[in-house]
Amino acid sequence: MADIRCPNCGKNNPDFLDACQFCGTSLESESSLRIGESPKKIRTSELEPILPQWLKEVRQQNRETTEEEAAEAATQPQVRKDEAPDLLSGLFQAETSEEEEIPDWLSAISPLRESSPVSKKESPADFFAQFEKASEPAPEETAEREDSSGMEETQEPVQEDWFSQILPQSETLFQEAPGEEAKFGAAVAPFEAEPPTSSEAEDLSWLRELEAFAKQVEQPVTEASVAEPSAPQEDLDWLKNLAEASGVQQETSATPPSAEEDLSWLDKLGSVPEPPVESATESSPPVSPFTRRTGPLAGIEDNVMPDWLKSALEETSKPSPSAPSLDWLNLQEETKSQEDVQVSRPVDESLDLSQGEPASAKLEAFSAESKTPPFTGPDVDSLFNIELPDWLSQTGESVAETPESTQTAEVLTPVELPSWVQAMRPVETVLESSLAAEAEQIVEKEGPLAGFRNVIPLAPIGSSRRPKPISLKLQATEEQQAGAALLERLIAGETVPQAIKAVPFLTSQRMLRLALTAIFLLVLGAVLGVGSRLLPVSALFPVHLTGISNVVASIPENSPVLVVIDYEPSLAGEMEAAAGPLLDQMALARHPIFTFLSTSPNGTALAERLMRNIGINKPIPDGLGYQLGTNYFNIGYLPGGSAGVLGFLEDVRGVMPWAQVADFSNFAAVVLLTDHPESGRVWVEQLEWLKQNRPSLANQPLLVVASAQAGPLMQPYVSAGQVEGMISGISDAARYEFVNSSRPGIVRAYWDAFGAGLMMAIVLITMGGFWNLIAGFRARGAEEEQG
């Protein structure tokens, strides 16, 4: 959001506030102009006396520069500024373009076109000097310049005829206002006694002189301003030129030949003691063709005017586009003048030339009764001083739409066009539509859209221009409707409850599954129930089994042996069968004291189950009579993974306070029962590092009992010598039990059932594979037969 700085207190306020929220000062900018508001005139001349000297000098220089530019602009063709008709402006544009070729008929129309290259070749200094010369009443120089200008040559007779007659008429205008002229003469009386001075002295003193003068003639001037409201500055340009060209020009012998010429005309006015009418009537000096004299043309007799000028002076029924703006400006000036009279404003402000109102109100007294129309487009035609072609002059007349113009307009005879051309041109239609479009253009006068044309269409609500209502009913073809009906039937069929088809309880697949399950249960149950020892056990030891018996034999009697339970209950059957022969042999031969440590949460309970299933804790003669707390200890669960293993290896009682041994080296052997290769690897790696750092552990054997799936991953450690022996799965356990003549353990009971189950599985898988192969061949054969 933008902020507005308060002009009074200097604090920022939101832009939506109209008054300062701190001091209440209005935040609306005085210079801002809103829609519907007329511009307010701000007089800065009140601040003029308090300006410093240097600023006054700067302002004075700016004024001089501005006046020079104004003088230069006055010499330029004013076609654009005065909003000439489009045709004339187009001619002006064509004149200024150097690249385009100028047709002969157009070059013949405008004499300015011929003189323009000459003026372009001249430097700007020469150009202004030419104007200075033109302002001087030197007939010889004027004649020379006319000789050098082709334009003057071509238009000389016409100009001499009608323009020489215009000037007396304009001078007559001054004579027709004797009362106002007397007032003006009284106003400028103090200037009569003052001789003309140099330009510099004049610049410094004219304001003081004006001030003194204003004090004397304040009242008359005020009356003059009341009698005639001030006109726009544009209207006074011609008056200044006229003053120079008429009687005032005769007194220009003392005029300094400097660039201050435009400012000095006022002094000259003041220095003229007698009315300038007489001198003006006696001698009408030649007028420069570049001098603007477009004001008092209304009083000129019709017989001395060219036709095109007559038409230009005729009051148009349709005001030019510039007329409204000038009207409101005139009205504003009138209002302002009336206000000035009421408050008796000082004269110096009215006479202040720096404010753009150089005594305009006073000079209007000369033309109080002969009020000229504002500077309109037709006046621009006087600049060309040419005889325009008929078609060009008719343009202005057609705009005027007067009866005279209709009488003088040429009637175009219709041309017989070919029938195909008449058929092609939609003239009437285009004209009607264009006229209707113009008629429909309404200018908004109120609200935020003020000034815009044709913002809201004229078409009333509900007219034919309103979009036709579109029916919401779906326009579907018969085919689409048939498809929709089919879809509806399908959806309706899905919503209708259907009776569940009676599925036969026994299908072929289900029968096959039940049959297989029955076969396995019956065969394996029978083998286990009977206690078969039919399947042979190999007496050949693998490499990883050869060192286990030696390790068991090397264990001292009644020495503590650590048994690590690192398997889950799901594999308890396999692990118990695999570990049974080793633990049974060890307990039977060396009577070690087992310390069970679990790295699995369920391992604590599985340890007791292991001792019970392998029959070690059973009383003699069925078991070995091991007692918990006497012959074996279950010290619980060791958390922490590898860190826990490391901590236990380094400080047994520090990690497991219920351990029977104080140091890990007290264990005669370590038996690892694992079904996870990762946990088995942790024990192997941590123990190997401890053996390398503790010489007392160098001879401590590590035996591994692994499941069939973990055995292959532990095999490399066995081959590397980090593990003295390993029993992997039931197969190795059965061999170990068979070779060592251990007590008949559970592994032997499992061996037949294990062998029978494997054989059945392999046979069934093979049979199923062949059945699928045969079924595939049959399906392909059937497909080939069907083609």
């Binding site: 399947l535 042979p536 056990v537 190999s538 007496a539 050949l540 693998p542 889950e568 209950p569 799901s570 594999l571 308890a572 059957g573 949460p601 369920n602 604590t604 309970a605 599985l606 340890a607 007791e608 189950r609 019970r612 918990l628 279950n634 958390p639 922490g640 993974g641 860190a643 826990g644 490391l646 901590g647 380094e650 400080d651 520090g654 990690v655 690897r681 590092w689 750092n693 292959p712 991953l713 095999q715 490399p716 081959s719 197969s731 061996w751 294990f754 062998g755 494997l758 054989m759 599985a761 392999i762 898988i765 093979t766 199923g768 594979g769 699928n772």
Partner: protein
């Protein structure tokens, strides 16, 4: 948050470096620090088990409280957990009641799940062979048949079975060694990344 992140990373890296240096340098101070950090890790790991149990109870109780479909199973799980935990804490793992619980519930259930997993894997492998018959599937079929034959012959003909197992074991041992080497290198790289702060499994992303 950035300060906490830096602190956690610094503490983790320092702990790893201390433990690693304690392995390689026989400095008593480093070894004591390593032992101290190891004890802390063990305690935290034991606590993590209890925290996991509490989380399990909380999740199941939430199911019961919100009346979800499996809420009854959650309630049964929490009840069994409390009873087992109480009896095991009071009676000890060698009590006949706890042993009955293990023999009658835990081991059969887990063994059944493992057996079911085995059958499922066999069935999936057969379906895979039926759907995609390429070189790898043929190779897998050959290895499976060879393994089954070795096991079968081990049961019925130990000599032939041992020969086949040695033949199969030659490839499996080679593959196993390569696998272990890969695991070791991966573990080393992971440890170095943690030490250098590249990986922050402790939540210091």
């Amino acid at each position: 948050m950035s300060v906490l992140r830096v602190l956690t990373a610094a503490f983790a890296i320092a702990s790893g470096i201390i433990v690693l240096l304690g392995y390689f340098l026989p400095v008593p101070t480093l070894m004591q620090l390593r032992s101290l950090l190891t004890d802390w890790a063990i305690i935290l790991a034991g606590t993590a088990v209890l925290v996991g149990i509490l989380n399990l109870v909380a999740v199941q109780m939430e199911k019961v409280r919100t009346g979800q479909k499996s809420g009854i199973y959650g309630a049964l799980l929490v009840l069994a957990l409390i009873v087992t935990f109480g009896f095991g804490l009071l009676l000890g793992p060698d009590d006949p009641l706890i042993q009955w619980t293990v023999d009658a519930i835990i081991v059969p259930v887990e063994a059944s799940l493992m057996s079911l997993l085995t059958v499922t894997l066999i069935y999936a492998s057969i379906r895979l062979l039926r759907r995609r018959a390429d070189v790898m599937s043929v190779l897998f079929l050959l290895v499976a048949l060879l393994f089954l034959s070795a096991v079968l012959f081990t049961a019925f003909s130990p000599a032939l079975g041992d020969g086949l197992m040695d033949l199969v074991g030659m490839f499996s041992r080679g593959g196993t060694r390569g696998l272990l080497l890969g695991i070791a290198l991966g573990t080393l790289l992971t440890g170095m990344r943690v030490l250098f702060g590249i990986d922050r499994p402790y939540g210091g992303n």
